[in-house]
Symmetry: C2
Amino acid sequence: MTKRVTSFDVAKLAGVSRSVVSAVLNGTPGIGVSEEKREAVLKAIQELNYQVDAQARGMKTGRSHCIAAYGNVSNPMFLQVLEGMQGACAAHGYHVLLYPSSKEPQHTIDGLLDLYLQRRIDGIVALDRPHQANEAWIRQLVKHRLPYVSVEGYPHHEEVPSVLMDYQESIRRALDFLWGNVGLPPVYVEMHHGAHTLGWGDQQRREAYELWMKEHGLQPRIAAASADLSWEEGAEHWKRCIQEWGLPTAVLTNWSRGAVYVSRAAQMMGVPVGEQLHVMAADNTKRIHEYLYPSITSMEVPYREMGSAAAERLVEYIEGRRPYEDKSTQWLPAILAVRQSVATVSS
Amino acid sequence: MTKRVTSFDVAKLAGVSRSVVSAVLNGTPGIGVSEEKREAVLKAIQELNYQVDAQARGMKTGRSHCIAAYGNVSNPMFLQVLEGMQGACAAHGYHVLLYPSSKEPQHTIDGLLDLYLQRRIDGIVALDRPHQANEAWIRQLVKHRLPYVSVEGYPHHEEVPSVLMDYQESIRRALDFLWGNVGLPPVYVEMHHGAHTLGWGDQQRREAYELWMKEHGLQPRIAAASADLSWEEGAEHWKRCIQEWGLPTAVLTNWSRGAVYVSRAAQMMGVPVGEQLHVMAADNTKRIHEYLYPSITSMEVPYREMGSAAAERLVEYIEGRRPYEDKSTQWLPAILAVRQSVATVSS
DNA sequence: CTGTTAGCGCGTTCAA
DNA sequence: TTGAACGCGCTAACAG
């Protein structure tokens, strides 16, 4: 066990005072350092393998160079966002601290604020909307001027900067792709839960579909379907739909499950998916499309890019390069993943 | 923007010295605090919403109360482990810092050691074996007495404590389940890559299969198969196998993919999976079994439990409750996930 | 222009 | 129960 190396040791070995060591490391303006001394310091640092004590530095500067990732740890998508955050943070010398959203008492949303008050983190990227607390929580944020960016959070909110997927654009891209490759007017399959209430994103999608069809002089065809059917009911339902649509047909579904169901029903009927029936999903929340057969072409939510953009932006707030008052929303396009369920024209 | 609240403020409001504030918070032995002073302090803390500055505390105590999770951020399994770590850490007042394993220069394995030298972390849970560096890396660990626990890492290694799945036990449990429910002698499907080299875990599995069959007076039947076949080749191969085995049959596969292939081939032949052909996987690395139809019964690698056990153990090292010299390996059983691809007897 | 000294930040801990 | 020192790095003020 080697004892800790401090700036004092480095200074002694290099024959300078500790302030010079600090100046060399941080390029402090106001403290000039001659070339030879600078090199002596660098050499001593190398030799002793000196590492600045992060706690001591943080205490002085008031920055921990850590940001919290607040989210649902059992959601696989979360990992994508983390990956993106990680990349952006590393590029700026920040670290990512995990803070799961859960109902357990040790992980309340106030605990997250405490982390900031304890100076353990410099800001937060949230990948989950704080449930209950909502407005009260947001007031806390603003009161403490806590740097905060939400992923997939609050579109158009006055007080919370967000990074979101551009749902409309993603539908347009999907339709362009389908139309360009198979040249058939796409049917829109709209899955929903229970009482037929659409989320904000699904409303956007539907609007975009209707507009796109209009622009192309095509008649919209929308097949709404509950996601709560049993396997048997579902299978029957989708077989009937396929017969109704006729063949060949192109289909775009709002949720990933829709594409799976349609594809499966087609297979049971002996209809070759990717030839007579072209299926595409507007998202891939279960991340299973590539493992299915045939694998399903889809628009992928750009989680990694969203995480990266959010972290990037958070660092701007922290380092004062972006004013705290800028709460604008940032929109990212979905990513087209070409797979087997749609025939492609060879260029 | 409220100014930071320090222990000084609390002391003043409570009419005591700062050391008393500290003693109340930490229960310092050797500093007695009368009941009324203690309450005055607590009240002042509440009132001012005082939070200890983590950096200042850490600087003094030499502990950051952070542990690093080193792993491959693009591996979905990683998230499970994180979830487990998170739970155990929270229970002991620790935080989880993410450190991805990657080839990028900002995330070398030495960077991980530096984190420790900088006192940013108190220890490491590794979910990925540091590639190249191996022996050199382990020497570094030992040299600095860095608390370190590996998940799925180095079975039986002298210098690195590990948490692993008990492969043999998982096979036994799977076979017990199959045998108990369908009463057919299970065929073992052994997938492998290229040159037919089995990993350590797969060797364990095979041994366990052979032994179990012997103990039950059954003739082992092993079908080895390359995972590198094309879809068409694979389909042909598995159809032939199913014909060869005859019906009804029970099948246990070492990898999750094997079960998917067999199941798919059966469906193409019109053989009802879960009735005439019972399929089970010994792992579920792609985590898609529950989304397939029929969903596939499998033994699930207990990633969450492994993460939890690893973190728990790391904290023991850090807090000196377990000697650094204890490098023993810890084995965890796989978890049986009953799904549709195997018929179950109703109790 | 180069470099030093002294004091600070904040909580912990030991001697009194 | 408390005052004072300490841990480690940063930086304003100051001197060569």
